[in-house]
């Protein structure tokens, strides 16, 4: 078995707020353009220019999975995702209530919940996001970018210290 699998990684500061992810999500899954059906949603603080895409984190110990009274929600280890079986789902919205990220949607037309399924391994939100605010990468790579950025600061400080030392001699 492969060790970890890929995960959806969101870097909010890169998001331009265009909401193309919402649009392609609804077209891919439902054949319609309608952000109300999108599994991903860009939360906005327009007055400050802040945009934060929110989607399912595919939790390991998923509250939605635990709370589901009919066991319609399961983990698919192959793609490391949480899936809903709509044949079993009774539309009680317990999962919607407990999700800490608001990532479980409820479709008022079909009266069923809906969530990110990682488009079976080719997330469209990632595919269309040119600035890579939403990315899909091996789980072990997730913290690498931050590690590197932090390390860069340290090396810069070190270089500065060495330079200062050299100057003083």
């Amino acid at each position: 078995m492969e060790p970890m699998g890929k995960v959806l990684v969101i870097t909010p500061e890169k998001c331009t707020g265009c909401r193309l992810c919402e649009q392609v999500c609804s077209v891919f899954h439902d054949g319609v353009s309608n952000p109300a059906r999108s599994r991903i949603k860009v939360m906005k603080w327009e007055a400050e220019g802040l945009y934060i895409p929110m989607s399912c984190q595919q939790c390991q110990d998923a509250p939605c999975l635990i709370v589901c009274p009919v066991k319609a929600i399961t983990r698919d280890e192959k793609l490391s995702r949480v899936m809903v079986n709509h044949n079993i789902c009774i539309g009680c919205r317990s999962c919607v209530a407990v999700c800490p990220f608001g990532a479980m949607g409820f479709n008022v037309i079909d009266r069923k919940n809906f969530k990110c399924d990682l488009c079976d391994g080719d997330p469209q939100c990632v595919r269309f996001c040119e600035v890579k605010a939403v990315d899909y990468m091996d789980a072990d790579r997730v913290s690498i970018a931050k590690k590197k950025a932090a390390a860069e600061k340290i090396t810069a400080a070190q270089r500065q210290a060495i330079a200062l030392e050299a100057e003083s001699h």
Binding site: C18, R19, F28, G31, N34, P35, R37, E46, F128
Partner: protein, 646 residues
């Protein structure tokens, strides 16, 4: 389905609202967006109506492809008779309003009459309500938007609003959505103000069915790759439109000191890279944002670094703000630029017109045509940053004789100021020119002179003419979807072949305006970007309607002709200085003083210019006076206008 989006007729006087489908026949003739708005304007206004009276009709629309997968289908269009020049009024803006309107079930709004008291429209999922806006009156553009969200309890509401300038009937007040998306030109905000209409709020969760979702997704991906691979768009995505001003200034193509100079010197502080630095310092490295669904993200975010508005957030500045608050009034401070940009955004007035008209007043002041008496003691010399910003406020609130006078727009103001002030007003059809100088570029001069909404660069400018593209490349672009075997020249100072380019661009821009797509996604600044063939495909994949590229061209030609018919009805005459297809005399009489060797010392040759107009008219099927020939109207199916199909 895009095809099931509706049109609503809203009479603010009687509070009557009618909602109707848009027949397929109308779609095939006019598609939607600006084109269909033009048809509606021609059919729903009477000749000679008062632009600020209840009899003027205001059209608001999203494009035919709004919110579909055609890449950046974000554009909102507003149209009415213009209070600025009395001709065609039309303005187009990005942002998120048009898609929201489409998800709420509508493509077109036709707004008539005048509300007794301030109101706003609340549009949600197929329903329209007229609500009291007394508490919103007096608020700035963003205050209004946030207040509506709070009142209706929904943060996803997108609104189209006016600020104090629109309320005060400043004749170049704009219509705004978001922080800085502006339907800027031709005073559409004043029209809203005259109707006591403070805002139009939209929110929708209605499906837009995509006819062929798989193909639409794949083609959109291709579109995006094509669009983002263009160098010009990559630069736009980093520096925004200030890069254009910087590049144009480098060879001497911008307007300074109200047309006295064509290049601004010693302006390091307002160069695109310097602006970018402030954006980075105040908003971080990822400070570019964009409109709905767009991967170009050409809009910068910034906080004003210094001065009385230090720390205030805004977006932009764009090319026009650089022209308005730097080049034209000859101010060179980034604080002035960013502050001026913020003021016009908040007041809801067109930055371009504001900067132009103040610079015109500055020249008149230096010439002694305006004196301290008219300015109430304000030292209105060029380069006075404080006076510039003070004038912005005076115009918005119609303060003092000059503020009130300039708020009337150039033509009326020139009549009030008198003397030979009109000679210095750089306008066409009552609308100020973009802050660019076209004396070295005949193609661009022809575009400015003949643009339907008055002097303007977004109606027919062959901007790629500046790139000196090889003739075979030009031919490839300009001979489809209709054949053209006439001359084409790579030389931007030439007159030859330019009328065809302007004619082609006029149809190209009309097509994107009908579809609701941004011009950065077509042959505007980039030569390799999508055009008619691509649109035929995206229309089919998204709506299921089959159009050939040639049929889209025909729609565009038809819509441009409707705009022409409207202007003719309102008194357009070929060489009428206030209502014609003619430039200010300075284009012909005063040579450029600065710029690159092939730019300095240039004027537009009047005879050659006349010949260009003749040729341009011929392509459009107009006679020598600019009036459509009967066979042209027949060919375009417009012989029975107004036909009242809608």
């Amino acid at each position: 389905m895009a095809l099931d989006r509706k049109i609503a007729y809203i009479d603010l006087s009687t509070r009557e609202i009618k909602i109707r489908p848009i027949p397929l026949e109308v779609r095939r003739k006019f598609l939607g967006g600006r084109g269909l708005d033009a048809y509606l304007l021609y059919n729903h206004t009477k000749k000679g109506c008062d632009p600020l009276g209840p009899e003027n009709t205001l059209m608001v629309s999203g494009g035919f492809l709004a919110a579909t997968l055609a890449s950046a289908t974000a554009r909102t269009h507003v149209m009415a008779k213009s209070p600025l020049g009395g001709m065609l009024g039309s303005a187009n803006m990005g942002g998120f309003f048009a898609p929201e309107l489409a998800w709420a079930g509508f493509h077109h709004l036709v707004i008539k009459g005048k509300a007794e008291k301030p109101v706003y429209l609340w549009i949600k999922n197929g329903k329209i309500e007229i609500r009291d806006a007394g508490h919103l009156w007096g608020h700035t553009t963003t205050e209004t938007q946030w207040a509506i969200r709070e009142e209706l309890g929904d943060e996803d509401i997108k609104s189209l609003v006016i600020g104090p300038a629109g309320e005060n009937l400043v004749r170049f007040a704009n219509v705004m959505t978001g922080i800085k998306n502006s339907g800027g030109r031709t005073g559409m905000g004043a029209v809203m103000g005259s109707k006591n209409l403070k805002a139009i709020a939209a929110r929708g969760t209605m499906d837009i069915k995509i006819a062929h979702p798989k193909e639409a997704l794949e083609y959109n991906k291709r579109f995006i790759d094509q669009i983002t691979s263009a160098k010009v768009n990559q630069t736009q995505g980093t520096l925004g439109t200030p890069f254009i001003w910087g590049a144009t200034n480098s060879w001497g193509g911008v307007r300074c000191r109200n047309f006295q100079f064509n290049q601004e010197l010693y302006c390091d502080e307002i160069e695109p890279e310097a602006i970018d630095e402030v954006c980075t310092e105040t908003m971080g490295p990822y400070h570019m944002t964009g409109c709905f669904g767009c991967q170009v993200h050409c809009r910068a975010q910034y906080k004003i670094p210094t001065g009385p508005y230090a720390g205030v957030y805004d977006e932009g500045p764009e090319y026009t703000s650089q022209g308005a608050f730097c080049g034209e009034p000859d101010c060179r401070s980034i604080e002035t630029l960013l502050t001026g940009n913020h003021l016009v955004d908040q007041y809801g007035m067109d930055n371009l017109e504001t900067g132009s008209i103040i610079s015109w007043a500055m020249e008149l002041y230096e010439l002694g045509i305006l004196t301290d008496k008219e300015t109430d003691g304000l030292d209105l010399r060029f380069g006075n940053d404080e006076a510039l910003l003070e004038m912005v406020k005076r115009i918005c609130f119609r303060k003092g004789w000059l503020g009130d006078t300039l708020a009337e727009g150039g033509i009326i103001a020139s009549e009030k100021i008198g003397k030979n002030s009109f000679d210095y007003l750089i306008q066409v059809k009552g609308v100020s020119n973009l802050h660019s100088d076209e004396r070295a570029t005949p193609a661009l001069a022809l575009n400015v002179a003949t643009a339907s909404r008055g002097s303007d660069h977004l109606r027919s400018r062959p901007a790629i003419d500046l790139y000196h593209l090889p003739e075979p490349v030009l031919r490839k672009i300009y001979s489809t979807p209709v054949p053209y075997d006439g001359p084409l020249s790579s030389e931007h100072t030439e007159y030859i072949g330019k009328p065809w380019q302007v004619f082609w661009q006029e149809n190209c821009y009309m097509a994107v305006d009908c579809l609701g797509i941004c011009k950065y996604h077509t042959v505007f600044l980039g030569a390799t970007l999508p055009n008619f063939e691509d649109w035929a495909k995206v229309i089919y994949y998204n709506t299921g309607l089959e159009f050939t590229p040639r049929e889209i061209w025909d729609v565009a030609e038809r819509c441009n002709m409707i705009e022409r018919l409207f202007n003719l009805r309102e008194g357009l005459q070929r060489e009428d200085l206030k209502k014609g297809d003619i430039l200010n005399h300075r284009y012909f009489d005063e040579p450029t003083r600065r710029g690159a060797p092939d730019v300095v010392g240039r004027v537009i040759d009047k005879e050659k210019f006349r010949k260009m107009i003749d040729e341009f008219y011929e392509y459009k099927g107009l006679d020598k006076n600019g009036v459509p020939k009967p066979e042209t109207l027949k060919r375009l199916g417009l012989e029975k206008e107004p036909s009242h199909l809608l």
